[in-house]
Every structure is written in structure tokens, then in C-alpha cells.
Amino acid sequence: MASFDAVIIGGGHNGLVCAAYLARAGRKVLVLERREQVGGAAVTEEVFPGFRFSVFSYVVSLLRPEIIRDLDLPRHGLHILPLESTITPLENGDYLGQWNDHDQNRRELARHSLRDAEAYDEFGLMLHQMARAIKPLLGMAPPDPSSFSLKNLSGMAALARHFRSLGPGRFPMLHKLLTMSSADFLDEWFETEALKATKSASGIIGTMLGPRSPGTAYVLLHHYMGELDGVFRAWGFAKGGNGSVSAAIAAAARAAGAEIRCNAEVSKVLIIRGRARGVVLENGDEIRAKLVVSGADPRRTFMQLVGEKHLPDEFVESIRRFRFRGSSAKVNLALGELPNFTCLPGRGAHLRGAISISPSVGYLERAYDDAKYGEISQRPYMDIVIPSMLDPTMAPPGKHVMSIFVQYAPYHVNGGWTDERREALGDAVVDTLAQYAPNLKRAVLHRQVVTPADIERIVGLTEGNIFQGELSLQQMFFLRPVPAWAKYRTPLAGLYQCGAGTHPGGGVMGASGRNAARAILGAP
């Protein structure tokens, strides 16, 4: 019977990051992945012959630069191609473009509103400062505010000092970002509807809230924190799809000595005398280890793999209350030709960037209204990229793949998810998009619709929540996933968590995996 220092449940990007850091520190690590390939929700699959898709997550920006550096990911095959623009087609046939190029962006905004063009730089500077203020928090194990231990007290004091040191006005601004709705927050800066809507859309991603609900402004910042080669707010696309991000991390982990086993589903955490001592696989095999680290989400980890009876009641109650409520879906299209947008006809630079279907805040709210009462949005918010424009290997020559992030598609849809529902969602997406790009219906060769229920079934994310638990204020920082257990440890001795259900969570970020490894290794 092999024995390891640590066995990691789940080969998602966080599990792999954690494994890589532990292996680099000389630990004997085994990663167990249920599926036939690693990556979790960051995978590339050839869904239709010749057409390769980032089936679930599809862009890179939140991946922590220190992880890229520490693990030397470019050497292991990570290559990120920048997305240079976001185009929002409008209902009146016009469009709003946001470009990485500063001057081009300013000219385009001024076309819609001179005032907004003026405000944009100041807004960018403010968010930049806020992102820098938050950044140190991403790499830390959150202190426990209700503990009186010296370590926690000094952790809280250090936090207060950090916020004080930001300078006048910064903490109130942070308070606003944490507590406001993204729509209200943006109302203070801009007047162009499409600009406000497109920006506030990043505040609703993965949540079951509308852009007018308080608490969405923070997610805006969370998404703004994307760093690429040191540039804030740049999104990118991984060459070869998001699976190549996972592959690069896995290669780094293996190079450091970690063992990764696919097709190895864990059924239980092995608990002997009140301590996690390994795992039991579906096939009955036992694998012993000094530590068990779960990359699965909190509900799966504790309710399924551990079991309530091994945990304190209060903790179980808290895990039950932790909210998932997946609200987003993915539609992947294989295209015979490029979409031809009415607002920007032909093949242009805009097809190399993102296309956002978010013409107004009211549009997003109406999409949310459907979902609130258990329906899929008839006119959903969509974030679209065409990876084959940046990386031609994703599709056969002359053909394209289109990746569409769709919201809202509630996990708890009335009557449950069925094949008809899935197709209805696909139809709503294609119909909506065809209003802006009339040739789309003709261009579609194949269509894959991934509902929250599919995400749960295939990747194992509870209720299909892409962040392993909603990223709302009451589930963040020292409250993620459970107060007093936000430091990657769990009430079960020997069991750690490293998934996005822990601080800071969400996105292909890797910070949870890294922080967990540091907590295990006893780093300060």
C-alpha cells in the first residue's frame, strides 16, 4: 500500500497548483482526478471532430502572476494571447467598443459621450488603486475575526493597518465597492447605458443577483483584478484553450515530483480515530496519506466525502447554508463561417476580442427577472469569444469555434433541467445573437449546450456554480466557506481544502490552491 505525504482530491487547477507547491517543497504528493483528464472546469475538449473547445471556463486573466512565475508555467507550455477589445452591439444597430489601446478607446467612448470619455481614465485609476489595495489580501489566509488568539488578533490589526495606509478616501471607496450594486456604482461615473451595462455585467457573473443588487460591485473589482504580464484589466485566451492552462500546471507539478492519476474517483475520505488518513476510491482501493487536501467544493467535500457524522453540528449547519445556486451556462458553437455583425460588418479586429450582449442595465435586469422566478432568460446576457480567431488550431481551416458564456440559466429551473430545456436555452442564445449577427443561424454547424446541471454532472461543481459557491459578500474572505474555517483547515484533523470554495475563490485564479499549500507548509 503506497503512502503519501498528501493526497489531493480533484485535479482542477487549484488542486494542481496546490500539488505543485507541495511537491516543490519536497512532499510526496498524489493527485486523484475522477475524469479521464485533469483540469476540472479548465479543460479543452474536441467536442465535434476538428473543433476544440474550452468547454467550461474560457478566458484567463485572474491566474495569479506569482503562480505563473513560481511554477514557471510558460516553460511548461502556457501561452496567453491577449483579447484586445470588448464590443457591445446595441439594439439600435450601433455598437460600443472598448479597446485596450487607450487612444482608440477614448475616441470610441467620446463618440457616445464626451463626459464618459473624460471620466474613463479617472475610473480606471480608481479601480486600479482599489485592486492594488485588495491584492495583498488574495495571497493571505484570512485571519479569524472571532478568535482571540495572538496570531488572529495581530492578523486583524495588520489588516486595519493595511487599510489605513491606503490613504484618505480609499477605505470608504473600498466600502462602497463591497456594499454597492454595480449599477449604482457605475451610475456615479458614467452615463452611456451600454458602457454601464457591459461593465456591470462582470459584477453579476456567477451570481444569482442582478446588477442593481448591492454586493455586485465587488465582483466587478474581482474581475478587474486580472493581471496579465503585470497589466491590470487585461483578459487573455490560452493557446490551445483553457485545458492548456491545466496541462501546464500539471506538467509543473509532475516536474516537481507529484504523481497525478486520472480515472480515479474518490468516494470517501478515510477517517481513522477522528483523523483523515487517506481516501477510499470508487473501486474500493484505499490510499493512505498523512494529509488529505480536497479541491472539491465545500458541500461535496463535507457532506459527501467526509460525512456529517464526523463533523460538528454547527459546522454542518453552516455548510448547508453556504449558497451555490449556479446561474450560468455555456453554449459552444462550431461555425462554418464567421458571424457577420450588423453593427460592424465583415471580418475585423472586433472578432479577435470579446463580444458582450449587454445593451443596457435594464436588459440585464430583465434577464435576471426571468431567472429569479425559475425560468431561463429569454434574452440572456452573453459574453462571447471566438478562440479560433486567435488560435487557428482550435478549428478546421476556414471554420471557427465560438464560446458563449450565458446568464441567467438557473440551476433550480422550474421543472428541472431536461433535454428540451437545454435545447430551449440553446435556441434562446442563438435567436438572441442572430438579432445582432443575422448569418449566425446559417453558420452554426454544431451546438453544445452546457447547463448548470451539466456542469454539476460532468465537473462535479455543486449546483453548477462556477465559483464553487457564490462570491457574495457574506461568503467572502474570512467567511469563505465558513467563519473560523477560512484558513484552508477543516474541523477534521488532517483534512484541508484548496478549492475555489475557499478564499479568494472564483475564476481560473489558482490563489486558493497556492494559499492552501502555504497553509499546509506552515508559511507565514
Binding site: M156, T179, M180, R366, Q474
Partner: protein, 452 residues
């Protein structure tokens, strides 16, 4: 001239005036026509400081009742046992959970209560941290989790019955342009719980303004203030609507910050950033008021029509898209003379709600048996702006949401009642704690003035 002028005749203005006069200042209160009646809990600190006796706090009992779909009513009383009995009829499980829920909420409300009787704390100070820790582990965790949560989620965690959740959920959105599924609304439930007995989530009515009026020491003048005269960055006096000028070294305004600083003060004295921030203080009125005289008792003291959280949310959906709720949230209170005062939400400011009165009458008439209305009058947010002086019809002056509460109320730069204009202070409902906590903002403002 060292006179202090206090603008406005509400409880906050009168409390501030009395405390300043008690400290030896010469104080004149200038009260406009629209001195509004206020309701709300009064912190004991205020009474102690003014040596006031004879304050009555009145809660209707039951404080809320909700018609049930199968007939009968769910009634929540000050007496916990009676509430439990009433809840048991609709859900034994909810009845069993009621005492624990009330206990947990009461503990959090007590924490807010302590914060409300003082100027806003510094959130980054050790003192504030220690105070929060005194809640204990469970209390602190509850606080951190409950404040930003949608009230609907909080209630879904505890209860199953729609009528109960609807009645409680309404407390989370009163006078707020948010629905129960919006973040931060659980904080509002707690806010309305401050000062109430466990299990009561509506502010009481008090006779504080009448008591204050009877106190000597302060000169009351009926007049409208046209502007505050500023010379060299400092207050010089006030100019009244009739042209009279009164010298004053200090002006304490209970009008909202927007009016006090952008309308009463001539432009040019303030930093453009502050002006911009003031314009962004959200103060959207969302409720209309209907006053009805009935010929006999309607058979209820209070009645709330909010059958479920979804009902409230749909009422909000209309408002969110700029319409009057087709099926509004309705809360009626009836007094001994069969006068019914009805809170109707959502009626967004600036939207025509002339048909709303009929809608509400039709909704209520199903529940008051044979009683017949003699007369009814619907006051839209625009009317309330005129008659009560509430900006945009918003009685809280600045919507009480987490980003406009405590040290953020109404703006971080103004949260300590002082303005950049020397001698000009703010003490109205838009200041901490404001929003239905009667007299506390005036009390805190006077404390800050006298602390210098």
C-alpha cells in the same frame, strides 16, 4: 453675535437645539410649515441627556397581521407566546424556530443600538473591533453574515411559511428601492428591530416631538429658510424667505445634506468632488401614503398585504423598471378613530400613481368587512416631498443601505455631522443613524459640536 440657528422643527432639530441651549448657547429654531410627525424608537441616552420624562413608545399589538390564503390571519404580537401560537397554526416548524430566530436577531440589533446612540465609529479602530468581539463568536459570525445578505435568503434559511416570510421580508425593504432578494436588505430588518422587544420588527410611535416642544429654553420661529449666508468659508447667518436676515455663528440644519449644502448654500464654497458625491447620494422615494377615514372599525389594528417574498420581489420588479407596482406592498394601521394610514410601496418618485389609490382601496376592502371609507387621500412621493419636506419623497433623506450607513452616512466626508463650511452642521434623518431612529442624529450632532 454668537447665536445658533437650527433649521427644521423635527425631533432631530429640537433635540440638537435643546442640547445646545442646555450648554449655554443662544439657540433659535426656524421651523418650516412642513414639520412632519415622526415615528421611531428613541435611544435612552437622548432622554437622559434632556432629562425628559413621560415618553411613550407605542407599538400596535399585534404589530403586524397578515391575511392567510386559507382564511384567518397570521398575527405577530409583542408577546412571544401569542406569536408562537399564531405561527404554529401555519407551520409548527416555523413556530419552533421563532424564539431562536428572535433571540439571534435581538442580539444583533442590540449591537446596532449601541452604535446608534453615538457618532459613527471608526471601523478600523481597535475599539470598534473589541466592541464587535463582545458579541461572542456566534454573534460576530451572525453579524458579518447577516448584514450583507438579502433578507429573503436569511428568512429562507429559517422559515418555510410564505406569509411569515412576506411579513418579515417587508421590513427589509421599507422605503428602499430594493427587493427582498437584493443584498443588504437583512441589515434593514435589523435596523427596524433596534429598540424593539424581541420578535417585533417595526419601529414604535413616540410622542417625542410633542415633549420637545413643551421644553423651554429655545426660541421657535415659523419661517422658511431661503439660504445660509456664508462669508469667508464660515457661516454668517441665515436669510429667510421673506428677506429677513438673521446673524448666526453656527447653523445646524436638519434638512438633507443635498439641500443643506447645494441649495441653501450659494455655489462656490464647496469642493467639486464633494458636490459630485452629494449629487450621488441616493434618496429615491418609493412609497406613497394613503389616508382613509372609515365609518367603523375595520377589524384590524395592523394589516400587511405581502403574501410572500416573491410577491414583494415582483412589486419591486415594476419599480425597478420605472413603474408603479401593479400589486404593491400594502401596510395599514388603524387608530381608535378608525383612521387608517396606509404605506404603499412601490411608487417610485416622479411616476404617475394617481390610479394607485383605487388599487389599494380595492385590495384593502376585502379585509375590512362592512366598514366603508368616507374619504381617502393618496399622497405620492411628490406630494410627500411638498407636504413633509422629504427630498424626492424619501423620509430617510438618504436611503439607508449598507453603503450609506454608519461611517458612510450620507457620505464619509460628512459622517461626523460637520461640513466643510465652518459653523455649518448637519443633524437630519440623512445622518447617522437617522432613518427612523428619532432624535438620535440630533443628539449625536450636538455631542460632536459640544465636544470641540
Amino acid at each position: 453675535m454668537t447665536r445658533t440657528v437650527v433649521i427644521g422643527g423635527g425631533a432631530d432639530a429640537l433635540v440638537a437645539a435643546q442640547l445646545l441651549a442646555g450648554a449655554g448657547r443662544e439657540v433659535m429654531v426656524i421651523e418650516g410649515e412642513n414639520a412632519s410627525r415622526e415615528e421611531g424608537w428613541v435611544p435612552p441616552e437622548v432622554l437622559r441627556a434632556l432629562r425628559l420624562e413621560g415618553l411613550t413608545l407605542e407599538w400596535p399589538d399585534p404589530w403586524i397581521s397578515v391575511p392567510l390564503p386559507a382564511g384567518g390571519r397570521l398575527e405577530l404580537w409583542r408577546d412571544m407566546a401569542r406569536s408562537i401560537e399564531s405561527i404554529r397554526r401555519v407551520s409548527p416548524q416555523d413556530a419552533a424556530r421563532w424564539p431562536a430566530f428572535c433571540k439571534r436577531m435581538a442580539r444583533l440589533a442590540r449591537f446596532l443600538e449601541a452604535l446608534y446612540a453615538a457618532p459613527p465609529p471608526d471601523p478600523l479602530s481597535a475599539g470598534f473591533a473589541l466592541r464587535a468581539r463582545r458579541l461572542g463568536r456566534q454573534g460576530l459570525e451572525d453579524l458579518l453574515r447577516v448584514l450583507p445578505t438579502p433578507v429573503a435568503e436569511l428568512l429562507d434559511d429559517w422559515f418555510e411559511n410564505d406569509a411569515l416570510k412576506g411579513a418579515l421580508g417587508a421590513a427589509g425593504v421599507l422605503h428602499l428601492l430594493q427587493g427582498p432578494r437584493s443584498g443588504g436588505t437583512a441589515f434593514r430588518l435589523l435596523h427596524h428591530h433596534v429598540g424593539c422587544p424581541p420578535g417585533v420588527f417595526r419601529p414604535p410611535r413616540s410622542n417625542l416631538p410633542e415633549l420637545l416642544r413643551r421644553l423651554p429654553r429655545v426660541e421657535l420661529q415659523h419661517a422658511e429658510v431661503r439660504r445660509v449666508a456664508v462669508r469667508g468659508g464660515a457661516v454668517a447667518g441665515v436669510v429667510l424667505q421673506d428677506g429677513r436676515e438673521l446673524d448666526a455663528a453656527m447653523v445646524v440644519s436638519s434638512a438633507d445634506a443635498h439641500r443643506s449644502l447645494l441649495e441653501l448654500v450659494e455655489p462656490g464654497w464647496l469642493d467639486p468632488d464633494l458636490i459630485r458625491a452629494l449629487r450621488h447620494v441616493r434618496r429615491r422615494g418609493v412609497a406613497a401614503r394613503l389616508r382613509i377615514q372609515l365609518d367603523r372599525s375595520p377589524g384590524f389594528v395592523t394589516l400587511a398585504l405581502a403574501p410572500s417574498l416573491d410577491y414583494l420581489e415582483r412589486a419591486y420588479d415594476d419599480a425597478k423598471h420605472g413603474r408603479v407596482s401593479r400589486q404593491p406592498y400594502v401596510e395599514a394601521r388603524c387608530d381608535a378613530q378608525h383612521r387608517v394610514e396606509v404605506h404603499v410601496q412601490y411608487a417610485p418618485y416622479g411616476v404617475d400613481c394617481s390610479k394607485l389609490g383605487d388599487t389599494v382601496l380595492a385590495m384593502l376592502s376585502e379585509h375590512w368587512g362592512d366598514a366603508a371609507p368616507h374619504e381617502g387621500e393618496l399622497l405620492s412621493p411628490q406630494d410627500l416631498e411638498q407636504s413633509e419636506g422629504w427630498p424626492q419623497g424619501q423620509p430617510h433623506h438618504a436611503e439607508l443601505s449598507l453603503d450609506q450607513a454608519l461611517w458612510m452616512r450620507p457620505l464619509p466626508e460628512l459622517a461626523r455631522y460637520r461640513t466643510p463650511i465652518h459653523g455649518l452642521w448637519l443633524c437630519g434623518a440623512g445622518m447617522h443613524p437617522g432613518a427612523g431612529i428619532t432624535g438620535a442624529a440630533g443628539f449625536n450632532c450636538a455631542q460632536e459640536i459640544l465636544r470641540r
